[in-house]
Structure formats: C-alpha cells, structure tokens
C-alpha cells in the first residue's frame, strides 16, 4: 500500500510510475481513480474507457456498474458476476463468490502482468544499454571508417607520388643507361681513335727510328766498340759453337725435351694425386659397404623398392674390388665402375640415412615405448653389474698396491732402512738432547732456590725467636703504659694506612698465602721488617698486633720483590714449585 501512496502523490509524473499505476488500477478505490485519471493523460484507450466507466460507480449507479463489469468480464471470458437466473423475469442477483473468484483471478493476472512487465522493463533496460553500446560502437566505427578513408587517401597519394618517382627514376635509369651506353661508345670510339692515332704515331715513330737506325748504326761508328783486356772463358768451360742448322735442330730438341720433362713431371704429380684420390674413393667405398652390409638382410627381407638388386650389385662390386689390380688400371675403365658404384652406394647410404631419420622421428612421435629403447630394469641391472665390477676392480687395485708395497719393503736394502731409521732417530735424539739440557738447567735453578730457601728458613727461625723475645718485652712495656698511649695508637693506625696505600688490597689476598709459603722473601726483607716493627711499637696490643703482621708482610713484598733483582712473575713461579709441581710442569712446557 505504500507503493500505492506514492503513486497517488500528485508531485510524481514520470511515465514509468504511470504504467505501474495503470497496472494496479484494479486495486484502486473508486474515489482515488478520479485524481489518477487527471494525472494520467496518455493511458491506453481500453483502460481509459474502463477507468472512465468505473469512475461513475457511486451509490446510485451500482447496478449499472455491476452490469457493466459483468459485461466486460464476460467479454474477457470470465464467468458472469450474476447468479444463474432461474427465471427470466427475476432480477439477476450478484454472485459474490463469482465476484471474489473474478477478483482473485484478476489479481493473479495482475501479478503475472506485473512480473511480465518487470521482465519487459529489465529487457528494455538491457536493450537500451545495448542500444547505447551499439550506438557508441557505431560512432567509433564511423570514426574509424573516416580515419581509414583518410589514410587510404593519403596512401593513395603517396602511392601516386611513389609511382611518379618510380617513373622518374626509371626515366633516369634509362637516361643513365643511355649515358653509359653513350659513354661506352665514346670510350670505344676514343679507344679506336686512340689506337688509330697511336698506330699512326707509332708508324711515324718507327719511320723515324728506322731513319735514326740507318743514320746511327749503318754508319760505321768507330766509337761503338768493346775494349777488353782478354777474352774470358765461357762459364760452362765449353767453347762456343758455330751457328748451323744443326744447332737450331738441337735447340728445338732441347726445348721440347724441357717441355716434355715439365709435362711428365706434371703428369706424375697428377697421377699421384689421382692415385691418392682413388685410394680415398676405394676406402670410402669399402667403408660404405661394410657400413651397409649389416643392413643388407633387412632390406632383402622387406624387399624394399629395388634396393635389393642394387645391393646385389654392391656385392658383386665388392668382390671385384678385392682385386688390387683394379687400382692400376687406367682411368677410363675403372673410372666409370668406380664412380657408378660409389654413386649407387651413396644413394643407398642416403636412403638408409633418410630411413633412419624417419625412424627416429617416428620414435620421437610415438614416444619411448618401443623395443628399441632399453627398459629400465635392464638399465638398472646393467648399472648394478658395472658397479660390482668397479668394486672388484678397486679391490684388485688395493691388493696390488699392498703387494707392491711389500715387494718394495723387502726389496729395500737393510742399509737404507737402517739409514732411514737412523735419520729419524738422529732427529729425535737431537730434540731429546735439547730438552735434556733444558731440564738440567731448570734443575740447577731449582737446586739453587732450594738452598736459598733453606737458608732463609733458618734465618727466619732465628728472627722469629728474636721477634718472640722482643714481643714479650714489648707486651710487658705495653702493660705498663696502657693508659698513656691511646692517642698515639690512633695516629699509628693512620700512619699505617697511609703507608700501605695502594697495595692494601693486594696484600689482603696475598696475606694468607705468603705467610705460609713465602718464607724465602722474609729473608731478604728482614732488616726492614725489624725497623718497621720498632716504629710501630707504640700501637695498642690488639690492633697493633694485626698491624704488625700486615705491615710486615706488605713490607716484605714491596721490599723483597723489588730490589732483589728477580723478576716478579718468574720468582713467583719458581717459588711455587714445591707445592704445585703440575702447574710448574705446565709452565715449563709452555716456556719450552
């Protein structure tokens, strides 16, 4: 119904809407139909009449409109709206059922129509777009046609021009040809003229020459002479001979001899060349025959277009060829046979090759499923076999190598082996000796150190004793001056810290170890230690005790390690020797 509402909106006047209005008119109430008619001015006639008529369906003319509808419907093939009249006189009654049926049918019809209309609309749209497309196509084609027409005109123009040019060129060519002809004629005429002139000139020249000759030569010119001390002998040592007919004949003979020799020489060369070529031909032929003979059987069996007969010829030829005397025959007799047979065989070979080619192409076309192709299994078997063989061969080689080595080893003299061994031993010996000396040196060092250690220990023992004594005395004194030394004690501590300075941290770590392991260092630093001890005497017993040991150790370190002349790490290493032999050995190894 919303649809309908929009339809009745007087603002809307598009044609498509009108159509939908017309189709839905059966649903419209009579009151609205009027306005609709006002809106729709160009509706089809039949519908116009219909709507016009129904517009008059009011309270008054119900009967008429019903009858009219009935009439209309019956004309359209619907059942009558009135009940079947039993009697003619009775007034026909409106059959509600029939009306409803009619309405239903009309609605169905309407729906169908709507559907059809939609289809038609879409088709129309489609057709419209098609039309547009076609129109654009048409325009394009028209344009194309225009351009091609223009192009054609241009091309025609160019063609015309080219033709024109061509004609001109032809003309030019012709002219040039004429010119060339003319020039050639001129050249020829010039040449003849030149020759003529030359001849004339030459004749004159000859005449002059003749005259000169007569003048110069015939007059017995005394000047023309040869002075020679004595005549020399001929180069060949022979005497000059008189000119006679005999000499002439001899000269001729000699000339012909020379010519003959030359020809003979050349003939020999040519014969040699010929023989070579013949040999090559024969060889070729033989090879061809050998190449073709395995194929002989097959063509025979197949009886291919006459190759069989040719092949029999070939066989005959082959038989003939075996006679070596053929080679020495003169060309004429052999030539034909040879060339013919070669030609034949060549033909056979050619056909054979062609056949092969065909086969190959066929195979290619058919794929590799023929029996010619080696099957995969065979292939694998073959490779396996080959691998096995390779393995065997390798083993064989290995055994052979071993045997060879053994043989070599046994074959070698004892001298050489001993020498070789000696060589090795010598090298090793030398190395060992070196190591030995090194060890010895180290040992010596150790001994020295041990001695110094023991001395130091003894000294330390003595010192300790002295120290103990001193301490006892000192303690005694402290007990006596307990109260008076308080401030001095703090001073002492400060002094101590300032003294130990940077090496404080070191000393803490070293402290525990050197005390037990480095008695040797004490030996060197003992005087300083004692001096220090005397200095720190006034400290309180608890702290000073600690201080004493600490300062003592630190003093020892700084003093003994510095000026003793030993290098610190070396000494440390040596000092540790007794306790950690493994480490020392490592270190020694590294040093070596």
């Amino acid at each position: 119904m919303g649809d309908w509402m929009t339809v009745t909106d007087p603002g809307l006047s598009s044609e498509s809407k009108n159509i939908s209005q017309n189709t839905s008119e059966t649903k419209m109430s009579p009151s609205s139909l009027y306005s609709q008619q006002v809106l729709c001015s160009s509706i089809p006639l039949s519908k116009n009449v219909h709507s016009f008529f129904s517009a008059f369906c009011t309270e008054q003319n119900i009967e008429q409109s019903i009858s009219y509808l009935d009439q209309e419907l019956t004309t359209f093939g619907f059942p009558s709206l009135y009940e079947e009249s039993k009697g003619k006189e009775t007034k026909r009654e409106l059959n509600i059922v029939a009306v409803l049926n009619c309405m239903n049918e009309l609605l169905i019809l309407q729906r169908k129509n709507l559907l059809a209309q939609e289809n038609v609309e879409t088709q129309n749209l489609k057709l419209g777009s098609d039309m547009d497309h076609l129109q654009s196509c048409y325009a394009k084609l028209k344009e194309q046609l225009e351009t091609s027409r223009r192009e054609m005109i241009g091309l025609q123009e160019r063609d015309r021009q080219l033709q024109c040019k061509n004609r001109n060129l032809h003309q030019l060519l012709k002219n040039e040809k004429d010119e060339v002809q003319k020039l050639q004629n001129i050249i020829a005429s010039r040449a003849t003229q030149y020759n003529h002139d030359m001849k004339r000139k030459e004749r004159e020249y000859n005449k002059l020459k003749e005259r000169l000759h007569q003048l110069v030569m015939n007059k017995k010119d005394k000047k023309i002479a040869m002075e020679v001390l004595n005549y020399v002998g001929r180069a060949d040592g022979k005497r000059g001979s008189w000119r006679t007919g005999k000499t002439e004949a001899r000269n001729e003979d000699e000339m012909y001899k020379i010519l003959l020799n030359d020809y003979e020489y050349r003939q020999k060369q040519i014969l040699m060349e010929n023989a070579e070529l013949k040999k090559v031909l024969q060889q070729m032929k033989k090879e061809m025959i050998s190449l073709l003979s395995p194929q002989k059987q097959k063509p025979r069996e197949r009886a291919d277009d006459g190759t069989g007969t040719v092949l029999s010829d070939v066989e005959e030829d082959a038989g003939e060829l075996n006679r070596e005397s053929m080679w020495d025959l003169s060309c004429e007799t052999v030539r034909e046979q040879l060339t013919n047979s070669i030609r034949k065989q060549w033909r056979i070979l050619k056909s054979h090759v062609e056949k092969l080619d065909n086969q190959v192409s066929k195979v290619h076309l058919e794929g590799f499923n023929d029996e010619d192709v080696i099957s995969r299994q065979d292939h694998e078997q073959e490779t396996e076999k080959l691998e096995l063989e390779i393995q065997q061969c390798k083993e064989m080689i290995k055994t052979q190598q071993q045997l060879l080595q053994q043989q070599l080893a046994t074959a070698c003299d004892d001298d050489t082996t001993s020498l070789l061994r000696d060589c090795y031993l010598l090298e090793e010996k030398e190395r060992l000796k070196e190591e030995w000396s090194l060890f010895k040196e180290q040992k010596k060092n150790f001994e020295k150190e041990r001695r110094s250690f023991t001395e130091a220990a003894i000294r330390l023992g003595l010192e300790r004793k002295a120290f103990e004594e001193e301490r006892a005395s000192w303690l005694k004194q402290q007990f006596l001056n307990m109260t008076t030394f308080d401030h001095q004690n703090s001073e002492n501590v400060k002094l101590f810290s300032a003294f130990s300075g940077s090496s404080d941290r070191d000393n803490l770590t070293v402290h525990s170890r050197p005390q037990q392991k480095k008695p040797h260092s004490v030996s060197n630093g003992s005087p300083a230690c004692t001096s220090k001890l005397t200095k720190s005497l006034p400290a309180s017993p608890s702290t000073s005790d600690f201080c004493q040991t600490r300062s003592c150790v630190s003093e020892h370190r700084s003093r003994a390690w510095g000026p003793a002349g030993w290098q610190a790490p070396q000494k440390a290493g040596v000092g540790l020797l007794h306790t950690w032999p493994a480490v020392v050995r490592d270190w020694c190894g590294a040093k070596c």
């Binding site: 050639q184 000759h213 020679v228 000269n251 020379i258 010519l259």
Partner: protein
C-alpha cells in the same frame, strides 16, 4: 740485429753478389767491393764517370758499371783486378744494360729502344736484336738461364721472341694478342710465359715455351687493368694485381682464377692479426737537453722510436683518395711478392699506402695486416725463410715473420741526412745466402 758502420754511397747503388759473399757499392765514379763477413774492402775500381747502374754477373765473378750519360759500360773482374773491359755504345746511346744469365754476355739497350746489342766477353761476336719494345718489363730470362724472352714491337703489333741464351739463336717468334704489351715474365719452371697487356685493358696471356697460347684471362673490361704480376716460386700460381684493388690468383692447371683477394679498408674478421706501428715518443730528460740540439736528434724521423701493437678488429686503415683526373692514379695493387717457400703473398694496395697485406696461400685467405706510420716504399722477402723486410723511407727497417714483427732503428742514419732531410729513397737488398738485409739510404 747487428749493424755495420755506415758506408758512403751514391745513387743508391749497392748490391750483394748472387753468391752472397761480396757487397758492391758505388761512391761517385768509384766501385767498392767488400767482403760480406768482414766488411773489409777487397777491391776498389775507378770508372770513367759517375756510375749510374751496377750489376753482378750470375756467377759473382764480374760486375758491370753502366754510365748511361756517356753511353759506356765498364766491366770489372773480381778474380783479376787488372782485367778490364769497356763497351762504348757511341752515338746510339745507352738506356739499359744487363747481364745474360751465363755471366759472359752483356745486353745493352740503345736509346729510343732502337736495338739491343749483345756483347760477348768470350768471343768477338756481337749480336743485334732489333725492335725491342720499350715497356715495363720487356726482357725476361728463365731461371735456369737457358732462354730469354723479349717483347718486341713491329708494325704496331706486339711480338715475343724467345732466344736460346747459349748462342743467341732465335727459337720462337710469335705475335701476342695484346693492344700494348706491358710486361712478360717466365714462370720459375721456365715453361710458361706470362704476358700482360697495358693498364688500359685487363688481359693476361699465357704462352708455352714453344709459342702456343695456353690460356688468356680477362677479369673485366672498360676499366684500368693489371698493375702488377708475380709468379709463385713453385710456378703453381700466378698472382695478378689490378687497379680494382684485387689480387687474382690463377692456377697452373686450368689457368682459371682460384680466388681473388680483396683489400678492404676495414678489417672486421677477428682471425686476422693487425699489427699497427705506434710511435713511442722518447722521454725528454730536461736536464740533459743540449743546446744547440745534436744533429741526430734534429731529424724528426731519427729520434722517435716505434713499436708494433696488435690492433683489435674492426680496424679501419688509412686510405688515400686518388686523384681521378691524373695519369697513373694511386690505386690498385702496386706491388706483390711471394715468399720463397710460396706460403705467403705480400701485397700493397696503393690507395692504402701504409699497409702491407700478407696472405696465407695454403688457406687462401688474409693472414696478417701491417699498418705503418708512413707509406710503404718497398718490401722484400728473405730468400731463405718466410720473413719480410719493409721500409717506409724512414730510418727504420721493419721485419715480419709468422712469429711476429719488429721495428728496428737503423743506427747512425740521422747523421747522414744533411740538412735534416728525410731519407727520401730507401731501398732494400737482400743477401741471398746469408739472409741478412742491407738497408740503404741515399741522400
């Protein structure tokens, strides 16, 4: 390479004897003969006038010295220094003098080619041959010295006479089908005579020793024809160089062309080796610059060194544009020579004057191209091995062999160029037996 000291020379007259033992050179009217090995002067002869031509006899026993201006020929013997011989052509004049191959006869051509006089050193006999033709190469002897062919001109027709050299008897006399015969040459085997026509017509005629025409060859018409001809030492090929810049090789069996060698100005084939001479400018040491500069350094050619570089193809060679309206245009194959083993052929195309083409005759293709900095004046093969010597008129000699090529500075040349002049005429002569070269410079 070793160099001797510089010998004085006049008129470029310097020749090795055929046996390679002696070297004859002329200074004005004196003839100096030196031993090749020691370079000591063996003999010194004094002629009557300035010598214009010298020639060794084939047996290296005699030397003839021609003084054309005086119409005189003097002959000297190497074995007998006191022996002398003087031939006076008198008023007939003299334009050419040469030995016969036996070394006992001298052929003198008179002025205007009126006749050739054959003087014998053995007998008193004198023979005259009339009507010799004045042409490029009118006399040729066979290599074995038996026969002489002579081009003649009578009644406006060309003839060839074949003489037996032993007694100067006429063996054959036949006319040749030429317009204006330009040259004749025996094949090395002495059985075929090549006759070629004037440059106006391309025509080669081949005659047998007995005067039969074996073949005639004409490559083209209506254009300038043959410029140079050479036989291969094996007598197998005849190379004909022509004005169209091609060398055509004829074979000795059919006398047809086997191949033609074009001489393109650009070489594109990468198989061909192109050696290009490149100048190495000497380093100037500022401290050692003398003032005034020494003579040797003043000559521009003497101071610069050069070497060969292998150019990468394509190489464009320097070409000369020939002057079209002058006679004897500088185009075509002006010189060609086979190596003594017949393996190589060296050619020079006159419109590419700086280049020498060397062709491989076995493969019948171009092998090497040498491009010099200046025009090639002459080249000559070593008589014993495939080695080519080239000179360009500078103070250098260039040697090529299949192994490569070198440029050699001839020492001391600069001092012998008075006024810093260029070595205008340089010639090569090859020692037949020792394979050594002498490069001669004249001033």
């Amino acid at each position: 390479m070793n160099f001797s000291e510089v010998f004085k020379l006049s008129g470029l007259l310097c020749k090795f004897s055929p046996d390679g033992k002696y070297l004859a050179s002329c200074v004005q009217y004196r003839l100096v003969v030196r031993d090749v090995n020691t370079l000591q002067i063996l003999q010194l002869y004094t002629c009557l006038d300035q010598i214009q031509h010298i020639e060794w006899s084939a047996d290296s026993l005699f030397i003839l010295c021609a003084m054309y201006k005086r119409g005189l020929v003097q002959v000297w013997s190497l074995e007998q220094p006191e022996w002398h011989c003087r031939i006076d052509e008198g008023s007939a004049g003299l334009v050419a003098s040469c030995w016969s191959p036996d070394g006992r006869h001298i052929l003198n051509t008179t002025e205007f080619h009126l006749r050739i006089t054959v003087w014998s050193l053995c007998t008193k006999s004198v023979s005259y041959i009339k009507y010799p033709k004045a042409c490029q190469q009118g006399i040729t002897f066979t290599r074995d010295g038996r026969y002489m062919a002579l081009a003649e001109r009578r009644d406006c027709k060309d003839y060839v006479s074949v003489f037996v050299c032993s007694d100067w008897q006429l063996l054959r006399h036949f006319d040749t089908d030429t317009q204006d015969l330009a040259g004749i040459e025996w094949a090395p085997n002495g059985c075929v005579l090549a006759v070629w026509d004037t440059c106006l017509e391309y025509k080669v005629l081949l005659y047998s020793l007995d005067g039969r025409l074996l073949s005639a060859y004409c490559a083209y018409e209506w254009s300038l024809g043959i410029k140079s001809v050479a036989w291969s030492p094996s007598s197998q090929f005849l190379a004909v160089g022509s004005y169209d810049g091609k060398v055509r090789i004829l074979n000795h069996v059919t006398w047809k062309m086997i191949t033609d060698f074009e001489h393109p100005a650009t070489i594109t084939n990468p198989k061909i080796v192109v050696y290009k001479e490149a100048e190495k400018s000497p380093r100037l040491a500022l401290g050692s610059l003398a003032f005034p500069p020494p003579r040797a350094a003043a000559g521009p050619l003497a101071s610069t060194e050069s070497k060969y570089e292998i150019a990468s193809v394509p190489v464009a060679l320097q070409t000369l544009k020939p002057v079209a309206d002058r006679a004897n245009p500088k185009i075509g194959i002006g010189a060609l020579a086979f190596s003594p083993d017949s393996y190589f052929l060296a050619t020079r195309n006159d419109n590419v004057p700086n280049a020498i083409w060397i062709w491989d005759i076995q493969k019948l293709r171009l092998f090497v191209v040498l491009e010099q900095l200046s025009p090639v004046r002459s080249f000559q093969w070593d008589p014993q091995q495939p080695r080519l010597a080239i000179c360009t008129g500078g103070s250098k000699v260039y040697l090529w062999s299949p192994a490569g090529c070198v440029s050699v500075q001839v020492p001391g040349e600069g001092e012998h160029c008075p006024l810093g002049g260029t070595l205008a005429n340089e010639r090569l002569s090859a020692d037949t037996h020792h394979g050594s070269f002498g490069a001669l410079s004249g001033t």
